[in-house]
Amino acid sequence: MTALLEVRGICKRFRGLQAVDDVSFAVPRGGIVALIGPNGAGKTTTFNLIAGVFAPDRGSVVLDGADITGLRPDQACRAGIARTFQVVKPFGGLTVLENVMVGAFKASHDRRAAEHSALEILGRLGLADKAEVAARSLTLPERKRLEAARALATRPKILLLDEVMAGLRPVEIDAMVRTFADLSREMGLAILLTEHVMRAVMALSHHIVVLHHGQKICEGTPEVVSRDPAVLDCYLGAAPAGGA
């Protein structure tokens, strides 16, 4: 497996806080990698460093062989990175279809082509019957799906999902997991996700990276990570472990 996304030793400091400290990992083509860790571990900051919201103080981000370190969010998107937001940001005054068309316009200037591709993606995400509804009238699970649909419409190489399962009920979580597993398999889409819902992380990811206090403390397959003492420590707060 060749790496599609490579994060190499990125660091980010906010005032006195070292939010992300020398974190490296890779996402292979078509792979699903989860970034987990307790609150404040630096997951969302890592996302923002990859998606161009902030530039890293040190380190680099390489997508498909191209250095995308420090690009603006729109440039990162045009390079092939699409992301969803933890707190969903629908274009409330536009219809669901129009929301997704905004994403689809990245790939095509043509309205009909954008509309066609948006409808196809809405179908995949189970929102086809909501196409003409105003985005502001959607329920939370629907908004989460819309968020993903809009990002997918940009035809990304990799999709960054920032806690898309948060606030969903178990049934809805299972449905979301199926949707993304199918998308990844059928479209060969690579996914990097942060998630607190372990049920989803374990079901979806091939590989897990664990962050704690901005540092990577462990990575590996779900089985390996779930048995790692350092991981158990930081989640369960057991005896103070050496190192960290």
Partner: protein, 332 residues
């Protein structure tokens, strides 16, 4: 209305638009000169409102200084005409360049330094105000004592030199308003229209979808300013006199934004309807209160009526009326 519908405008909307155009074309033939002058005021308000609606209603950037572009358009065309006899149409193009560049510059400066929201609005006021003061001391265009166009007969219709009757101006402004309607409709159906509205709804989300937010905001401001300046040039040749204190007045900036807000911000036809409602209301109040010797009665009633509209229909009169008539302002 399903996706992929072949009609650009649904039939009912097309019919309503056709009726409106026919009525507007016929009106000057049946009404007196006072009504024509009121209609000219309405059309100026519609056009300026439509131009402002581009940057604020669609792209979501609040400009409170659009009098600046009215003034730049008016002064450029008028000064070129009085000094060198440049045809108004050429002067108008020059005004478009000047105002478009000014709009782009102000937007670029603000957005480059991440000035947004109310601070951007304040900045637009500041630019309009200091340009007003600048023109007060700008001798070549008459300074504070004003710039005057040679008055000619108010009869005929010399289209080339924009000299003629109010009816001529009425038809010119009607064409301008319909042109703005067409242009806006066209832009809304293109990528740029979708991008502007995405930026208005959520800038961060828009940027994450690959939109160069800075570029599209500057483009909206430049286009809005350029369109406004065309109206300014017509205003100069209609009124024949220009004073910085009235052309660049902050009161004018406020007037420009009132019609689209009353009519429906970010809608195609809202600014036009808003101009009709507001101007008619104002004129009605004037004639109603003329029998009384109460100072300020007109303004009082006008203000009360506005409050009532804003309280009852905060989204504007047009979205309400549109729903009643079953007209869709379709963008696809």
């Amino acid at each position: 209305m399903r996706a992929g519908a072949a009609l650009a405008l649904p039939r009912r909307a097309a019919l309503a638009l056709a009726l409106f155009v026919v009525a507007m074309l016929a009106l000057p033939l049946v009404v007196n000169s006072y009504i024509v002058s009121v209609l000219v005021v309405i059309l100026f308000a519609s056009y300026f409102g439509q131009a402002w609606n581009i940057v604020t209603g669609f792209a979501g950037q609040l400009s409170l200084g659009h009098a600046l572009y009215v003034g730049l358009g008016a002064y450029t065309a008028a000064a070129l005409f009085t000094h060198w006899g440049v045809l108004p149409w050429i002067g108008m193009l020059a005004g478009v360049v000047v105002a478009g560049a000014a709009g782009a510059l102000i937007a670029a400066l603000s957005f480059r330094f991440r000035v947004g929201g109310v601070y951007f609005a304040l900045l637009t006021i500041a630019f309009a105000e200091f340009t007003r003061i600048l023109f007060d001391h700008f001798g070549w265009v008459g300074g504070a004592s004003g710039l005057f166009l040679p008055v000619s007969s108010r009869a005929g219709a010399d289209l080339l030199h924009l000299r003629g009757s109010p009816v001529m101006f009425y038809y010119l402004l009607l064409a301008l308003t319909l042109g703005a309607l067409t242009l806006t409709h066209h832009l809304l159906r293109r990528r740029i229209g979708y991008y502007w509205q995405a930026i208005r709804e959520d800038e961060e989300a828009a940027q994450a979808l690959g939109i160069d937010v800075f570029r599209y905001k500057v483009a909206a401001m430049a286009l809005s300013a350029a369109m406004t300046s065309v109206g300014g040039a017509f205003l100069a040749f209609y009124e024949n006199n220009l004073y910085p204190d009235t052309v660049f007045a902050i009161g004018r900036s406020i007037e420009i934004i009132t019609a689209p807000i009353i009519g429906g911000l970010g809608t195609l036809f809202g600014p036009v309807l808003g101009a009709f409602v507001l101007t008619t209301l104002g004129e009605a109040m004037t004639s109603l209160s003329s029998g009384f010797e109460l100072n300020g009665l007109k303004q009082w009633c006008y203000g009360a009526a506005l409050l009532l509209i804003v309280a009852l229909q905060p989204a504007g009169v047009w979205p309400w009326l549109r729903a009643r008539l079953g007209i869709a302002e379709v963008r696809r």
